[in-house]
Amino acid sequence: MSSVAEVAFARQEPGYDVERVRAEFPILASSVHGKPLVYLDNAATTQKPRAVIDAEREYYEHTNANIHRGVHALSERATAAFEGARERVRRFLNAASTKEIVFTRGTTEAINLVAQSYGRSCCTAGDEILISALEHHSNIVPWQLLCEQSGALLRVVPIGDAGEFLFDEYRKLLGPRTRLVALAQVSNSLGTVLPVRQAIELAHERGVPVLVDGAQAVAHEPVDVRALDCDFYAFSGHKIYGPTGTGVLYGKRALLEAMPPYQGGGDMIRSVTFEKSTWADLPYKFEAGTPNIAGVVGLGAALEFVERIGLESISAHETGLLEYATARVAEIAGLRIIGTAPEKAGILSFVLDRIHPHDIGTILDHQGVAVRAGHHCAMPVMQRFHVPATARASFALYNTRAEVDALIGAIHKAKELFG
């Protein structure tokens, strides 16, 4: 015990003031079932700092108007706020141009956009889309839809017993008919970090573009799309302390230029006649209809917040927490961690002998500890490990060692209750 605590303590980021960070999140002061909230469901969605809540409120109180059209002052202000957020996203990802930043409702919509726009124009019968066995349903189902429409085939890179990505299998599966590789950067169900940089390098040697699903990565490590050299990068605002209903698709300009629109409507056109319409420039070609303007403004505030704390510090803090939590749960008899890859980020998935994850979830909730119980929208991962579901604790920049201790205590209570 003491050695675990010491190791964890030694690894704690000096100068990372978690209490000050927590103070910025109003919801963290609340109670659940009479117990202080211990929020460990961050892989599902993160809580929002005051800066984000204020940005949305201020937008509605002082700025609200539709963008890219009105000549009045509010519309100009709203457009500036919206496009300012786009510039912030560009800097955050280190993209070359704001033309490469498309706002979506989330990662799911970003991947569907690529599948339907890029995928349908490049895939014919017998072509292949390559994903991994670790993918979230949102990086499986859009490709299955594309396969049904085009006659393309979905190929899946298997994972090992630790939940690790099998690179040699990837090498074998990356074939002459592969038209696109789509990989998670971090697995949402197990926390495995995939070697996306090497995967992209290999795919590019063979002329295959790569989409990276960054939903579980962006809040936990710095991302540089030009250093990665990915062709597409998708993430959700709500998993990086921003509002729900916001997301981003980054795409290399040449690819986006060549792609047909995903949805038709207002704001994405240059001119419309009943005979023929022409499309607006990037990125507006992919942004039909009035977007979630307030949400995007909130997302901009969220990225500013994250940059202020610094992703390097956040990453070090969360790595320390995960190591501490992993060591603490390993002491619990009858507990098995699902996903023990050497490279992991922020996620601890586990099962307990004789106690179903759903029961664990309810009992933990009664101790104020919020975890996810279920298949985590990754049913193939559950099948791979022959479990119907897992309980999953996932960490964020505001979690503490004391909260890990609360989790451990709650698991012991569950065992006590079940006898």
Binding site: H356, H358, D359, T362, L417, F418
Partner: protein, 146 residues
Amino acid sequence: MSDLRELYQEVIFDHNRQPRNFGRPADANRHAHGYNPLCGDKVTIYLRVANGVIQDVAFEGSGCAISTASASLMTEALKGKTEAEAEQLFKGFHEMVAGSGAHGGLGKLEVLAGVREFPTRVKCATLAWHTLGAALKGADEPVTTE
């Protein structure tokens, strides 16, 4: 912990640890599969119905304590009931866990009354019953709680 005890009563632990009527009877003449896609719980209900009377009932599957205990308790309650009586029991059970909360005449099934205070767990308790409904109707499609 007090209201957790309302949910997890001893009878429920008992039926979870040692489910009654667990297995697949060779002479079953009706069955249906049920599935809760949210948590992965699966159940198959087997019935032997003769002259409108449930002569035998059993289940297989895997799930949480609430769904396993509910299925087990259900099988005990159904033996010897007519199809109409079984449907009445289902209605009463549903009213208890998902409706007004009124219960009476449900016998041992009433240990599951506490589920009503846990809205996320209602589907765990009703999965077996929905599947029973499908088995009685002879439905081919698996039942899901969604």
